[in-house]
Amino acid sequence: MAQITRALAGTALLTLAFGGPAAAQSLVISNWDGYMPEDLLDRFTEATGIEAELSVHATNEEIMGRLVAGGGQGFDVVFVSSPFAEALHALGLTAELNHDLIPNAANLYAEAQNLEYDPGNTFSMPYAWGTTGLCYRADLVDEAPTSWDDLLDPPESLAGEVTMLSTDRWLMAAGLLALGYSVNDTDPAHIDEARDLLISATDTLLAFDDTTFYSRLVSGEASLAHAWDGWCNYGTAEDPNILFVVPEEGSDLWVDTMVIMASSENQEAAHAFLDFVLDADNHRWVAENILYKVPNEAAMAGLDPALVEAFPNLGMTPAELLAMEQLRDLGEAQRDYTRAVTEIMAAQ
């Protein structure tokens, strides 16, 4: 019995030591896996003396679920796409940003300081931005794709070699754009139309894939993928035959943002982190590592021209991006989108 008592006491200690709420000194930052340079946090600690640890999430939805469930507890800075940042703001989970603590925000393009989802960057700072399109193996397709129709109704030879994004907003955007509607369309009839079109597209689909499509392109398992521009570059880096194109119907402008949780007990340190990222050199380092465009004029000015040559979509200008339609949160209509996506997934 004494043994058991000891074991129990030990357990309790272990649980307390390792399981209790994280100590307040270290920033907890949640980002997509591989979406920042591996040494960025070390550099941050070196520069500021503030400890920071990385937590990864696979999707916007996953981190949203966690934040809503826990009221944001435990997280200090979170990376989410603009519509999700908007939703977090509406829920009151984001902190009001103090621009005095983020002087490097001045490095951002003027366009990136006045985006529709958060004019003046009151609760979010843009981290990376870009658009969504088609990523393909030029040596495996007979004809270069140019339109959303090429994705949704590919030639016979590509049957079973196409992947699509499964995340609600981007999956629906492919259908809506092909039909000539807005990526933020909330008209139920339009949503149904897009849904039916997407259901017919699943016939020729290899898989829905938000995370590994570029390695499928590299291995030749897939020939055409619905992809974010920066992530297509990962494929191009391994095989120059992999190219990216924005369909002629146009596409969306998404912005991945950094937000500070209102519940964070390290507000100042969190602001310091945002400011650190927005520093011209640091943000350039980010762009060079993740191969996504960053909305930082000073950083992009210093970008190695060889990179832009190798990955042409890095060269898209803010004006070109602003010509795309900005993704917004849908509020109540999000439910219709989710339902439509469930219907698409369930229709096999």
């Binding site: 996953e62 679920g65 509406a90 290899l206 898989a207 894939d209 469930t342 997934m345 369930a346």
Partner: protein, 284 residues
């Protein structure tokens, strides 16, 4: 007497207390939530409604439930058809070797579920080993898509749960007295008759236990359809997961969970009936 009673209570209290607080209460919350409304960005708004259940029976979601039942049913059928003869072979093998044979069946179960499932991605990938093997054998066509279909999900489920089925059926077969096999054939029954009229009925509880086990674990499974279905196979487990993460609709996810619990309880009840029937026939 009263000290014994006190002790029994003392022994029961911590365990039952734990289960009550961390299982019954949470499941109770889920059941309660299923009658409330969702908040726009998630969470629960405490306004009473039956809407979540009305939605669950909407053909779309009912269809997902049916697909889940179909996939779980196929996995169960396959596991029993494959597992029964294997269990039979072990039970009829030399007594001395049975523990080893059984151990070999159970061994893979002790490795990680995700890893066992992942192994099939490696095997069935379009550029995977099976396709490469086909190419070596002279197959020249396009590589075959073996992943991301209902069938792949069924294979994954059978792979993971087969050991349990074999174990359950073996347990009921090994309980049969050794003479039983001989007596029946000595009485002139053909092996098939012996099997059909004596062995099979007596091993029915084992089959029922194994089958219910596979079915219940399959129908609520999330990982296998997620990894082997490539997002293209939607089962109720994934639907519940989506309601809590992407759809931000906890009450609806709760309603689906409630229905799933109902289905399972009905099945377990049916299994208990089979067991008590077969016990009634042979012992009472």
């Amino acid at each position: 007497m009263s000290t014994a009673r006190t002790r029994t209570l003392l022994f029961l209290a911590p365990g039952l207390g734990w289960l009550a607080l961390f299982m019954l209460v949470p499941v109770g919350i889920v059941i309660a939530d299923s009658f409330f409304q969702r908040g726009v960005y998630g969470g629960v708004v405490y306004t009473f409604t039956f809407e979540n259940f009305a939605r669950a029976f909407d053909p779309l979601y009912a269809g997902v439930l049916l697909t889940s039942a179909k996939i779980a049913g196929l996995a169960t059928l396959a596991a029993v058809l494959i597992g029964y003869p294997a269990a039979y072979a072990i039970a009829r093998g030399p007594k001395r070797r049975q523990p080893l044979l059984l151990f070999l069946v159970m061994l893979p179960f002790w490795s990680n579920y995700l890893i066992r499932t992942y192994a099939w991605i490696v095997l069935l990938n379009r550029e995977g080993l099976l396709n490469q093997g086909l190419r070596v054998l002279g197959y020249e066509g396009e590589p075959i898509n073996m992943l991301y279909t209902d069938a792949t999900v069924v294979v994954g489920l059978v792979y993971n749960y087969l050991p349990f089925v074999i174990l359950a059926i073996y347990a009921s077969l090994s309980r049969l007295s050794g003479d039983l096999w001989e007596v029946s054939s000595d009485l002139g029954a053909s092996p098939f008759d012996t099997f059909r009229r004596v062995i099979l009925p007596l091993s029915l509880p084992g089959i029922a236990a194994g089958a219910v086990f596979v079915f219940v674990l399959s129908i609520g499974n999330f990982v296998t359809p997620d990894l082997l279905g490539g997002g293209r196979v939607q089962m109720v487990g994934n639907l519940i997961y989506d309601q809590f993460l992407s759809a931000r609709d906890w009450p609806f996810g709760s309603a689906l969970s409630f229905l799933l619990i109902g289905i399972m309880m009905a099945l377990l009840f049916a299994q208990a009936l089979v067991v008590s029937r077969s016990q009634g026939e042979h012992h009472g």
